[in-house]
């Protein structure tokens, strides 16, 4: 029997029972894919997590879990720790250890996180504006490339902040922000975020607002009490939910700006000495915040991830062995059922070696198909893991 004939007969038999063949291929593919995907995902996640952590040398935040702080600043996960005071940022900036970048990652526009920061963030993350221009004033924002593509947003469009609590009827008005630019893609969570000036996030928080001029006679209905130069407004005062050229002058801040909230501050020290000095300055128990090394926090997380994945890997290995044993059983039973068919081949002149070859080819086709399918799926998983990681973290 020639090789072509063996292949033809094997293929005919496999395609005669497509359901059985596909089930076998899928079982083998899944058995190989699951541990492989786990490995690919954990190693890719580790690479991505460490890469972003490396570009964030130090992070100042409130005392608490350094991992929560790091994930909030790097992956814009929900803010679990209490806020840091703006005073902490100005104090750190005055020390001149290096570039200080404030991060206020508390609010959202639908699912997209709104990040209040300074212009230095875009330089630090190498995030140029690909379309439109940079933010220039209160109420402006630039958005990530993926967010823009997903929602078909362009410079000049508006995006509205979501209320933190839908049941808080007396809460802060949502702010309609002007999109001034779309950032270039950098394949990180930045691609899915909305970036605004820190002051804009304070407007969302209700610490700053703009309203009709109470001294103007047209706003008489909104005046509750007037005493000399002092005017007290009632609840009907019209507050602006969008910053425009006409009303920007009316926006003002209430309270002490030093007490305004922040999530964290990224510190990029200018040299090793500044880094050591900065770390030393926040080590004492009397310091108001903590200065963490994001790479350390992320390494801890990846170590935990690896320990968990090792256990899962062992479980998958056992499952895989069982699956292979079952597949072998299916093949053996199938060959037993085809005993008469094999005898017929022998009677018409097929040698024993050819019959072994015929059976082996069938097994090989199924095995190779399963392996190819598993490898293809693993490659797809790798390409998706960069985008999947922030979603899983959130």
């Amino acid at each position: 029997m020639r090789a072509g004939g063996i292949a033809y007969l094997s293929w005919k038999h496999l395609s005669y029972r497509p359901l059985r063949t596909l089930t076998l291929v899928a079982a083998i593919a899944l058995t190989i894919y699951l541990p492989l995907a786990l490995y690919v995902f954990t190693s890719e996640s580790t690479r991505i997590l460490q890469e972003r952590a490396r570009s964030t040398p130090l992070l100042l935040g409130p005392k608490g879990s350094s991992l929560d702080l790091t994930l909030n600043a790097l992956y814009f996960t929900s803010q679990e720790l209490p806020s840091l005071k703006h005073l902490a940022y100005t104090k750190l900036a005055k020390e001149r250890f290096g570039t200080t970048i404030p991060i206020h990652a508390r609010f959202h526009a639908k699912e997209a996180p709104i990040i209040g920061t300074s212009l230095a963030y875009f330089d630090a993350r190498t995030l140029p504006v690909a379309e439109g221009r940079m933010i220039t004033r209160l109420g402006d924002c630039v958005i990530g490339a993926r967010l823009a593509r997903r929602n078909d947003l362009h410079p000049g469009d508006r995006i509205t902040s979501s209320p933190e609590n839908v049941f808080d009827l007396a809460g802060v008005y949502p702010l309609r922000m002007r999109i001034t630019g779309i950032l270039a893609a950098n394949h990180t969570p930045d691609d899915d975020a909305v970036f605004a000036d820190l002051k804009t996030t304070w407007v969302i928080e209700g610490l700053a607002h703009g309203h009709q001029d109470l001294a103007n006679p047209t706003a008489a209905d909104a005046v509750r009490k007037r005493e000399g130069n002092s005017i007290q407004a009632n609840a009907s005062v019209v507050e602006f939910n969008e910053v425009t050229e006409n009303n920007i002058a009316s926006f003002h801040f209430h309270g002490d700006p030093e007490h305004y909230p922040l999530s964290s501050v990224i510190l990029i020290p200018k040299d090793k000495k500044s880094r050591a000095l900065a770390l030393g300055a926040y080590q004492g128990p009397s310091s108001s915040g903590q200065l963490v090394i994001p790479l350390d926090a992320v390494t801890q997380l990846t170590e935990t991830l690896f320990a968990t994945s090792k256990m899962t890997f062992a479980a998958f290995l056992l499952l895989g062995l069982t699956a292979f044993a079952l597949a072998a059983l299916v093949f053996l039973l199938s060959f037993r059922l085809r005993e008469r068919e094999m005898q017929t081949y022998a009677k018409i002149g097929a040698r024993t070696a050819s019959l072994v070859m015929l059976k082996s080819t069938e097994v090989a086709i199924v095995l190779i198909s399963g392996i190819v399918l598993a490898l293809l799926s693993a490659a797809i998983t790798k390409s998706f893991s960069a985008g999947l990681l922030p979603q899983l973290l959130n």
């Binding site: 900036a93 004033r137 209160l138 130069n229 009632n234 209430h254």
Partner: protein, 308 residues
């Protein structure tokens, strides 16, 4: 033939790459630092301190008071790209409070004397039911440079910031600062002397922009809300008469810019001698900050009883 061609190509590529490298180095070395400012006094200080190696960006239109100028988005983007942004502080250029400016390169030039800012009492205050606390939307006098000692402090802050940003120019900047401080000190001494010759008698000013000048040189200034080109209607004259009645013997009227000749005549009939004391907040048509301030002093000297 092929070898020759290859050799020629390699030589040309090498020469081209050398040329390109030189060109990029030239571009790098010819990159002139930029310093953005919000008013003319700061532009003048920056020009005196760093004009030799930096370009000063001052985009306010010449016919507008820079304090109330609102830069366009494009102008703000230009400022964002500057190596240094100099703000006056004291609530000057309120657009800066709502603009997105890079924190690292923005310098508040009056922060060293912010505790001595003058608050304008007449600013309207109001409260909101939610917060309860009373607040005002303005109310800080901002012509800080009219007290030449404060101007010196602003110039020193600017020089320190420029020195920190461009360490290789620090010595030259500090040398320029010493010369500028000498000029400002001279302005201060002469102004104090000239003003003291007026015997600290009250004067009327067309506009409330002399608070620091008033405090520094111990004057009593009664401010109106006049513009040098406005029509002096009955209401404006009534306001002036009210001031004159409350302050009998007041002789001098200060304008921020040259008034219309008719105004001079009108005020003369009311017993007032006019003098121009420019705060020079915008770039003058001729001369510079120093020459304008010297012209102010000269005009004031002519008023002094000793001279007359």
């Amino acid at each position: 033939m092929n070898t020759r061609f290859l050799l020629a190509t390699c030589t040309l590529s090498f020469l081209f790459s050398c040329g390109a490298k030189r060109k990029s180095t030239e571009i790098e070395s010819t990159h002139k630092p930029t310093i953005a400012v919000v008013n003319y006094p700061l532009a003048y200080f920056a020009e005196r301190l760093a004009g030799e190696f930096a370009t000063i960006i001052f985009d306010a239109p010449s016919d507008l008071d820079p304090a109330f100028w609102e830069p366009t988005d494009e102008q703000i983007v230009r400022m964002q790209q500057a190596d240094l942004i100099l703000l006056n502080g004291a609530n000057y250029a309120q657009w800066a409070a709502t603009a997105s400016l890079p924190f690292e390169s923005t310098v508040d030039t009056s922060s060293s004397f912010e505790k001595s800012f003058i608050t304008i009492e007449s600013a309207i205050k109001h409260t909101h039911l939610k917060e309860g606390a009373e607040h005002s939307h303005g109310g800080t006098a901002f012509t800080t440079w009219m007290d030449f000692r404060q101007a010196g402090m602003q110039a020193t802050t600017i020089a320190t910031a420029i020195g920190a940003d461009f360490p290789d120019q620090k010595d030259a900047v500090m040398k320029n600062l010493a010369a500028l401080l000498t000029d400002l000190k001279e302005l201060h001494t002469v102004t104090a002397k000239v003003v003291s010759n007026l015997n600290h008698a009250p004067v009327i000013a067309s506009h409330p922009s002399y608070q620091y000048w008033e405090r520094a040189y111990r004057l009593e200034i009664l401010s109106l809300l006049w513009d040098s080109e406005m029509e002096l209607g009955t209401e404006a004259i009534a306001d002036l008469k009210k001031v004159q009645e409350a302050n009998p013997g007041v002789q001098y009227f200060i304008w921020d810019s040259e008034p219309l000749p008719a105004h001079l005549e009108k005020l003369k009939t009311m017993g007032l001698t006019c003098v121009v004391v420019s705060s020079c907040s915008n770039r003058p048509a001729s001369g510079d900050f120093l020459s304008v301030m010297r012209a102010n002093i000269e005009a004031l000297a002519k008023l002094s009883p000793e001279r007359s």
